[in-house]
Structures are given as structure tokens and as C-alpha cells.
Symmetry: C2
Amino acid sequence: MFITGIGRTKFGILDKSLPEMLYEAMLKTLQDSPLTIEDIDAVIVSNFLAGPTTGQLHLGSLVTSLLPGTYLTAFRVEAACASGGTAVYMAGSLLRDFENILVLGGEKLNGLMNKKIYKNIAMAGDLLRDQKEGLIFPAQYALIAAKYLKKFGLPSKELSLVSAKNYFNASKNPLAHFNFRDLTPDAICSSPDICHPLKLFDCCPISDGAAGLIVSRNRLSKRDIEILGRGAGTDAISLSHRKDFTGFCAARTAARRAYDVAGIEPADIDLAEVHDCFSIAEVIAMEDLGFCKKGQGMDLIRSGETSMSGRIPVNTDGGLLADGHPMGATGIAQICEIVTQLRGDAGERQVSHPEIGLSHNVGGVGGTAVVHVMRRCT
Amino acid sequence: MFITGIGRTKFGILDKSLPEMLYEAMLKTLQDSPLTIEDIDAVIVSNFLAGPTTGQLHLGSLVTSLLPGTYLTAFRVEAACASGGTAVYMAGSLLRDFENILVLGGEKLNGLMNKKIYKNIAMAGDLLRDQKEGLIFPAQYALIAAKYLKKFGLPSKELSLVSAKNYFNASKNPLAHFNFRDLTPDAICSSPDICHPLKLFDCCPISDGAAGLIVSRNRLSKRDIEILGRGAGTDAISLSHRKDFTGFCAARTAARRAYDVAGIEPADIDLAEVHDCFSIAEVIAMEDLGFCKKGQGMDLIRSGETSMSGRIPVNTDGGLLADGHPMGATGIAQICEIVTQLRGDAGERQVSHPEIGLSHNVGGVGGTAVVHVMRRCT
């Protein structure tokens, strides 16, 4: 299966509605592809919070309203912050019945009358055990960060290395939510506490945005990128049901499945987009994806190997931390970045001759994880 | 592809949470199947309103929390009231990657602190044009009913024939929301107006409930039912974008695709479950599915051909009107009924030797439609 078109909006605080952003992403995706809308056989829409936040559900029909007279088969998939990756995964399976599938994802969170954004985001976590105890997401990831740092004897200030790298990368990405050119680790460490040990810049922003891509059964052009392997896994939704807080079983399951199908090892990966909703999540991802051994994620980041000129650049677009995190779009935008890099189209942030890239999208606190492995066609 | 297990809860006003109902449906489905939970490769959860109504999203992870240690791939699909049928459709496509897929759907609407049920249900319709103008669902279907009755010169009291049939059928279904043995057309006509020309008994109730089934690549036992064909279509979400109010293009598209794949004609169908959220919707469904010509749906119902002993029994379980309409479960429960009938297990409501059955599940006011055609294996 091949990715035969990509497109996305800018991420940030946007003065656009969800349908407007989805439409923009759709147009850009079609413009990027050799296909026209008449070639599209089905649509998958990825979104997390449009119901509670904007009062609009039934997004499959909503999106096909933008395509009058097509009567396309349409799906809306939701897997919290992993909605985008899950939608792309599903598109791969739907190739059984369709030849070219448009995947569109978006999220509208800023500037709405509904002020319950934090409460709504908490719907990704367990209602009975976690949400009701006040375990909103920064608190959940702060628990994980505290456990991780204690277990491996690390000072909390090291987390700032993740954000510093990703903010730097975002400064080369004109579509990123943030463009702070010189955010130093010291500035990150002296930013306000959100939930100890996480500082302001350890947490991703609340972004609006949309992204799209087309998954096709057949290769259509030289610019197409092959999906070599994919895996998706789940785990208990509540942290109270987990034995280990310092890694995500769902992500390890998803990665193993993706590597097995692709017939590759972690060492074969040339660059990766990982789900850094909080800085600690990128550290854990390095280990869950097998880029290093357990407990060595921070060493890998500290060594510079995951920076843009390193052995395995991670989050070249700025990641969720600095590119932004419009949940329904995030997992799709990660794949757009890998495709852009593998095509050699990444401009100022282009890494050197990558052949194989990986995306890693997580929902909740590791309740869902989706991994895709992609290869440049030769 | 084959349906290798089915199960559902009672529908009604239930003193159970959504996870409890989903768990019950899962256990019953597994008990009905030759498969055990270890044989299941993926899960699809169908639900419409858990986010806005109960504050819980990320239901893929939630459901796999009930299956500790499985780390299954899980999806949640939402297509308003067509969520269930859409999930089963998707399961068919996911057979590309998985051998046995558990589809679970449910809805919890009654007895919650959240009193905005009607507002939440309106999320299936267009936010900007219809919802904000007060076009909640009874009003939308009343518009359709008024247009239909006027166009074909029918008195509104004829609609009561649909409800009388379906309430009678539900009286033979121990799991149905309602069990009114002798609801006459006259009693229906003298029930309170909801939105003219729709009376109380022309409108489906607000039900809680869950249903499940397993879709398998291979046939496993004599009781399995083959999915012969399937189709899904969409249309503009807003009524203001439709040219014709007296039929649903999405349903005609879905039906044509399903018949084409199955290689059959409407005349080959022995019984059907159709989406009678309001009585008028069953009349329109008869025409959209090709059981009769345009404008003759009411004639077909009046003739008795769609009653339990007729040529093509429709909604033998009582339909949405009397079996109930827990949206996430509805499309799955429709298929459970067809499977039960084709197996010959329907007890008091068993129709005579059916071989081919059809299910028709609609979201919004015809924004999404999904049709499945199923056959008894010989």
C-alpha cells in the first residue's frame, strides 16, 4: 500500500471552523496527489472532540457534504489522541474494498464558547477511576515522569533537552504552532510548573488544525511512499490497571507488529515522528520503539543522535510539543512529515537521505498506540 | 465473510453503565460462538454519544480494558445512528488484516445527570444550518413525513400501520424495549402529537442497550451466516442541501452496492430489518431498498406483505420503534435479528424458512446509510 498524497493546514490558534480546516487539508492533499476527487472511493475522518466541544458529530456525512453528489462510503474513527494514526491504519485495511482512500483528520479547540477543554480532553482517560479523581493528562504524565526519573536516577531538568530539540525543529517548519527560535534548556527549566516535574514547555499546546493523506492500493508516481508495516495495540485505559508506569505495552505491541510485517529491525529506521504530548513521552517512546534499551532513552537524546543531524532524527517537524497537537490531525500529520522527509521535500529541516521512517501515535496514557513504517520507493 | 456469533442485552431503560452493557453483550456473543476470546484478533466499538453524554471517549481502549493482557487492535467508529452498521461494514474490510473481529456497540442515555439528551442527539445533524434552527430529529422527520404524505396524497393516520405492526412484533421479542401486546392503529393515532404529523408512537424511544457480533474470514460452524453483499453511502448532512425529501440517496446507493456485490435483486430478499426511527422512515425504506416502486411503500405495508406472516416480513424484532434504539447498538442488533431468523432460532416470531435477509441502518436524516445482505449457509 502506498501514500499517494499529503496535505495539512498550519497548526495553532486558528480563526477557522473544523469543516473549513478539513476542507483546506482535503484540497491540499488532492493538489499534492496525481488523483482527483473522482478517483477517491472512500473517506475516513479522524476526530476526537468535535461532539463535546463543538456540538457536531456524524463527521463522515459532514465531510461528504463538502463533496456534493459523490455519495462516498465514509467513516469517522476516534481513538483519543491516536485518532489520526488509527484512521490511517484502518485505511490500510479498507484497501480490501476500495482502491484509493482519503484520510482526513482535524480538531477545533480554541476560541469556542465551550470552556471545558481540559475536562473534554480528560475523556481520553478512564471516567470512573482517573477522570473523577482529577487525573487530567498533565497529572497523569507527571506521575509517569516522576516514576521514570526516580527509577533511572535522572534529574528532572534533563527533560528540557527534548523540548529544546523539538522547538528548534519547529522553527524550521513554517506550518508549526510555535516558532521560538532560541528556546534554551535553561529557559524551559525556568518556565512555570504545570504539574511537577513537568514545566510549561514540557507540555504540548492546545492546537487547532487539520491534515490529510491518501492511501492507495497501487503505486501511482515516483513520489509515492510505501507503507511497509503497521501495528496497533491497546492497553487498559486506566493507569490504576497498569503494572509499569515507565513504558507503554500498547506501543511495544504496535511496534513489534509493524517491524514484523515490514521485516525490519529498529536499527533500520532512519527517522521517526513520535508522540511527544509531554517531553517524558518522547523519552519513553525511544525505548518502546527499540531505538535504545530500557532506561537509556535520555542518554540517546542527550547524545544528539535524535537531533536533525543525528543518526536517527526524531520529530523533525517539532513534534506535538512545538508543531502542535490538534488530536484528530496529529497522527496524520506525523505521517505527512515522514512522507515529506522521505521525498526529500523538507527544505530547511531536511535530513540526509532517509530511506525508512516511522510514526508512533499514542492515545490516552498509552491506552492505544499505532505505529507505521514507511519506505521511499526506489 | 461470515457472522460466527451474536449477542445482545435487553433494550430499554436499564440500570447499567455503558461498560457493563458492552461486557454483557460481549459475553453473550462469545457464548454464542465456537470461538473464545483468545481467537479474537481485533475489536471494533460502535457508539454515538458516550463523549457528550457520559464524559467517556477512547472506547477502544476502554473495551480492551475488559480483556486484560490481550493488547488487541481496537477501533471506535461513529456515524450517528448508523454507527452499528458502519462498524460491521468496517469489520468486513478489516478481514484483510484479521481473521476474527469482535464488533460491539452500545449506548447509555437514560438516568444520567446530563439532561441534554435531545441536544446531544441533534449532533447527528448539521450544526450550522439545522441544529441551530431548532431542527431536532422529530422535527426533521416530521418535515419528511409531511412532504411524503402530501406528494402521494395519503392521510397521516396511515403511518400508524407501521407502528402497530412493529409493536406487535416486539411483543414476541423478550429483549425489546416495549411489550404492549394490543397497541391498535386507533390508539396510535390518538396518542399525543410530537411534531405534526408524527404522534408519540410514530417515534422511537430513547433506549439503553448493547449488542455484539463476530465477523470471521472463514466459516466455522453450521450456524454461521454468510455476508453476501454490503454497501455504505453518504449524503449531505443538512436537509437544506437535499433536492428530494421523500427518499434517501445514501440508502439507495448503499442498497445498490449491496445487491450488486451479492448478485441478487430486491425480490430475492426474504426478510428485512430497516431503520424505522420514525414510522415514515420505514415507508421510505421500502422504496429506497427497491421492495416496491416510489410512492408505493404505504401500499406494501397496508397489504400485510411486511407483517410477520407476509411475503417479506420487516422488523420482526419490533424495529427501532418498539425493540428500541440505543444508537451504537442498533445496526448490530438488526443484524443479530437477521442471523437469528436465518438460523431458525427466533421462537414465537420466527418467519417461515427465510434464506436471504437484509439490514438497513441510517444515520442522521439519511446522511449515512449501510446495507448488509446475509444468507443462510446450506
